[in-house]
Amino acid sequence: MVGFLGKIKDTLKEITYGMALHSQVTGILKTRMYIEHLFTLMVLGDMLGFPVLPPYYSLRLLPYAIPNVQKWKHRFYRERDFTDIIYG
């Protein structure tokens, strides 16, 4: 009986997730995909030495893919230690 009720609970949970959140999750994943496409297009050519996109255009496009380059640099160079793991 518990197994049956548990199954019903899981089913309802999944249907609710599907109705309420799945389209939002898919939409967010797609947005990330487009940004990744742009980023790959910009950096992959230089990385491989294959001219997918000339560096001039890569640098022009970079602020669109990563609007906050300054913030990204700040995050990237910021010192991290174990307290960052604890407090995020």
Binding site: E14, S23, T26, I28
Partner: protein, 584 residues
Amino acid sequence: MAIHETPFFMVAVGLLIYALAYWGYSKIVDKKIWQSDPTRPTPAHLYTDGVEYFPVGRYVLYGFQFNSIAALGPILGPGIALLFGWVPAFLWIIFAALFIGWVQDYSALFLSVRNEGKSFGPIAYSLVGPQARTLLLGFLLFYFLLITAAFMFVVIVVIDIFPGTFWSLLVLVLTALLVGHLIFNVRMNVVTVTLIAVVLLVIGVAIGAFFKWPPTGALGKAPYSLWIIPVIILLVAGALLPLPRLITPMNYIAYYPVIVAIVALIVGSLLSPLTGVKIEQPAFTKFYDPENPAFFRSGPLWPALFVSIACGAISGWHSLISTGITSKQLDVETDARPVGAGAMLTENTVGLTALAAWVVLSPELQPRVNPAFFVKGATTLTAPVFGGESVVPFLESFFAIYMVFMAMTILTILGRYWRVVSAELFGESKYSAVRVFGNKYVASVLGFVLPTLFVLTGSWINIWLYFGGTNQLLAGFALLIVAVYLLHQRKSYAYSFIPGIFMMVTTIAALAYQAFVFYDATVNAKLLHPTQAILRDSVGIGAVIAVNAFSVTVGIIMFIMGIVMFYLLLRAMVRARAMPQQTQ
């Protein structure tokens, strides 16, 4: 009171037929025609990318599919169909549920699954030809224009009758902004944010129930033209703000009142023999009466009835959803039936319960006149279940919000679509006069100006039948594409071909008739609807003629597109018959 005089009767019979469709007919089609195979890899497994293609459980996908296809179509369509009496409307809903509705959703899903998860455009290209894809794009632009017009009309007339709804809508928008901030910026737990949102929505319902300002009629004779301004401001904000700021959280939180409303309507219908709510609308009226303006504007029972009930019976929109995302995430082929057919039959149930809410309206409230009357019907049906007279203001506020939320969530997405497409088309032009149309503010406003021309016709029936005609035409298109594919495979295609032909012929006839109605009003300088007197008195008869002429033009374009599509599909059938069998 006899049980057949209550909405229970129609809902119970309908549910039995739906059970037959799901466990009988759809099972036969699944086994004999598509031969679903649980071991055959689906595109979700073949092309897994974690973004578009990835396997998702059947229940999640069922919930997603249902939420994506559920809109105002099944709610409002039955109200227009009541012009011919509730029995024809009821018969069409259950007939379509058995033989046409799920057939389209499920088959389009399976068609895409068997074609690498391709979307509708590429499938049309490969099976029918390049012209089909171009036509589909043009067709969709007009389709979006008509949906926008129909849903804007609903929002403003509901707000006009229930003015508190506008303040509830503002609460929704503010709640959505807050939810977006809490989820995406503060990174708060989704469950906690949801609870906060639900509490705020309940407050919104209470505000709508008691803060009825300005009272109906206070805006004079032009409620449509006045309410449309704040509504457009909200919609433009939706088109301009980033998705996670407003649209994403608004769609998420609007889901909760929608699902509560659907459950309340089902409960209200099934308990009607106990609550004493009975059918008040006439069972039959007439097939056609050209002397009666309502009949003249809608046209004869055929084709008008078959395009009016839209998504409650069958809808072309669903094939876009089936082939757009669902087919890319189907885990196993045997899930296609619960997801495609199951979600559509649930949508049919919504249509049936909406019909139940319409038929309990007293005969002097004619459903075709004003879509906002649905709120009255839904309240009449459910009030005895939830506490009688004392809860009527809350229920009215709640069902009004339900209609407005459903319309607004779609409208904001369409507004955004217009803005992005306009930026693409005009933004890079070398002429500054053209570039203006690509400006995000100009494009966002213009996206709602063209539909407003339809709204200014003031004739709810015509706007809806135009929308229904294009919607069902797309459904006919999808059904015939499925038939072309099955013919290529040398499989039995009649189950899709016959409904496809019926829908194509019916919708083309409906569009032709509607274009004729607008043409008649244009050449004779007639007012199509009393509301047009506002436009005549404020601007002049020339404005009325221009608005009607615009509608004629759209109708003629849709009619020609429909004919060309039909020809292309029939040509594709003939070619498929002549070609050797394709195997997969």
